[in-house]
């Protein structure tokens, strides 16, 4: 799997990606049982083998989390001269701040839009590319290539496209009477940000949807062709349900992407710009903590974010995965 993300993922998740589903994970379980029977000469040895992985998880995940939770209860001196315990007031300050609320709302809208658009456009392109026969590999490579662009670079390219003076998109829109002011106008910036974020994520979704489509057995498609006249109806009733495992995986990845990985794009777009620009919660954590030196408030925000992600993950696996068919 050359195209996995750097996101930490639940074990065995990728393997379920439409490549055999439950049967496969069952197989893994059997394999795991066999693994257990391996005899170690010393009882310490297995823990020694586990140590590097555990150390990484502990140092880069648990320790910072604990740090964040503990510092969220303190008011940190900006210059590092000690800290005062303030209880939950960091949290109440954040939650009842109207600025935070509007950023949270923007983040929600942004996440929904980016996830929905990049998933649906990726799927549309994959379905169309799946039908191409001549020059298929060139066509697919061209669609995938965008994924190789690093986030800040794509943010930069996006900036150029939406630039006040030289941006071709801005110029084009001005013919229609829309005078875009990215970086100044809240909604124009939000629009540009969403477009760039979606554009950046489409190739990723495209790759997975395409591989998912190619895993739908040809004979099942053909059986559907005989059973159902309308191609559209065939897509909704046969192809899409079989793509559901892929779509579910991508939904998780895309939500994470929209929430966290759009940081680079947002940074390029709003840095050095006036304050009235849309940012997401993650960006606010960064801005408050590292620009504003409000370590306590920033920690409280990141804890809230952690809880949101936790709830979201539970929701996804509990309620959506159940409806997903694993063949």
């Amino acid at each position: 799997m050359a195209y996995t993300t750097s996101q930490p993922q639940p074990g065995g998740f990728l393997s379920r990606l439409g490549f055999g589903g439950k049967a496969r994970s069952r197989k893994t379980a059997v394999a795991a049982e066999e693994m257990k029977r391996v005899q170690f000469t010393s009882p310490v040895l297995p823990y020694l083998f586990l140590f590097p992985q555990l150390a990484v998880i502990f140092i880069f995940f648990y320790w910072p989390s604990v740090q964040a939770v503990s510092s969220s209860f303190y008011l940190e001196d900006p210059f590092g001269f000690g800290s005062t315990f303030v209880g939950l007031s960091n949290y109440t300050d954040v939650i009842f701040s109207s600025e935070y609320q509007s950023i949270a709302l923007f983040t929600a809208v942004f996440t929904v839009l980016v996830t929905f658009l990049s998933l649906s456009l990726g799927l549309l392109l994959a379905v169309k590319a799946d039908r191409v026969i001549r020059g298929a590999s060139t066509y697919k490579t061209l669609l995938i290539a965008i994924y190789a662009i690093a986030a800040p670079v794509s943010g930069l390219i996006g900036m150029m496209i939406f630039d006040q003076h030289v941006g071709p998109f801005v110029k084009m829109m001005s013919y229609f009477g829309w005078h875009m002011q990215v970086g100044l106008n809240y909604y124009d910036t939000a629009f540009a940000m969403t477009v760039v974020a979606v554009w950046k994520q489409i190739p990723y979704n495209f790759i997975f949807f395409l591989s998912g489509l190619q895993n739908v057995p040809v004979s099942v498609r053909e059986a559907a062709m005989i059973d159902c006249r309308s191609g559209m109806r065939r897509f909704w009733t046969v192809i899409l349900p079989l793509l559901a495992p892929t779509a579910f995986f991508l939904l998780t990845i895309n939500v994470t992407y929209a929430l966290f990985d759009t940081f680079g794009i947002i940074d390029v777009m709003v840095k050095d710009k006036p304050a009235n620009n849309p940012v997401t919660l993650v960006y606010k954590v960064y801005a408050d903590g590292f620009r504003g030196n409000d370590i306590g408030g920033s920690s409280a925000q990141s804890v809230i974010l952690m809880i949101v992600v936790f709830v979201l993950t539970i929701f996804q696996f509990r309620f959506i995965e159940r409806r997903v068919h694993y063949n």
């Binding site: 099942v220 059973d227 068919h325």
Partner: protein
Amino acid sequence: MAAIDISSVGKIYNGGVRAVTDIDLDIKDGEFIVLVGPSGCGKSTLLRMVAGLEAISEGTVKIGDRVVNEVEPADRDIAMVFQNYALYPHMTVRQNLEYGLKNRKTPKAEIDARVAEAARMLEITQYLDRKPRALSGGQRQRVAMGRAIVRKPAAFLFDEPLSNLDAKLRVSMRGEIKRLQRRLGTTSIYVTHDQLEAMTLADRLVVLNGGKIEQVGSPLDVYHTPASTFVASFIGSPAMNLVKAELQGDRLAIGPSQISLNGYAPTSGAVTVGLRAEDLRVVSSAEGMPFTVEYVEELGSQRLAHGLVGDQAVTIALSGEAEITDSMRLSIDPSKLHFFDAETGRRLDVRAPATAVAAVAEPVA
């Protein structure tokens, strides 16, 4: 139910590869046609062209009175059973059966009745609410057939439906398909590479080779008068012995030995002669062809002795109790010989000798 008329149909793939050439086939209403041939002979391609899953490059296909070349598969009034079942894995058995009917806006009561009937016929009623993955191979194949039956189509198209089943199940499912087809009387085209399946199922066999029809006929016709060496070697188990021989007047020379033909000679010169393993007899007289046994296959009811006549491989089928010695002598009734052109492999018809001559031939057997 309808007749299917395939006339001068050919298939050329992108890039100019020719898969099927000039096929003419008239399938009567209710007939069970089996397309048989080795892999790559174009039998599946032909079936898929009838189904509409493959564009027809040349010629026309008519189902009933309608030319269907440009008709969508869903509108051709056919149902297909695939080798790997091709069930919709996310639907229950019932939904699988209903899917084609729902898309055709069949009334709900009608759908329920048809599904219930098909399920009863195929004995899958207790599995209706299961997903295909919870079924065995044989059960899945029944569901696939059920999906075809509920549609009540003009024709069933079977694409090697039994190839994925184990040998025992294959035999019983074969019987079941035959029984169902008789009962429903639906025109069927069945593709297989298994000659035994072809023989047992077909009303008429179509033997294909290299994208062309080698022979069309009833299973026994094809077995007893194969039109070419290809058909002769493909139909029947063990395969017909094909040996090089020379016709010298009324005598046939196979290696060192000679057989008197009693007027059965079709031509003269070099020919390929076909001898069915079960037509060869062991004789004690010195007249017979000398046969050296190399090894014996025990089939229980039969013993197959593989060996050489001269330097050519020959197999003979003997009864289960027959004694086999290292070297034996064989004879054959000249009327049971099959002659093929040594060059083209086409059958050479024997001008039937006068009855008086035939009577003389009897003692030889």
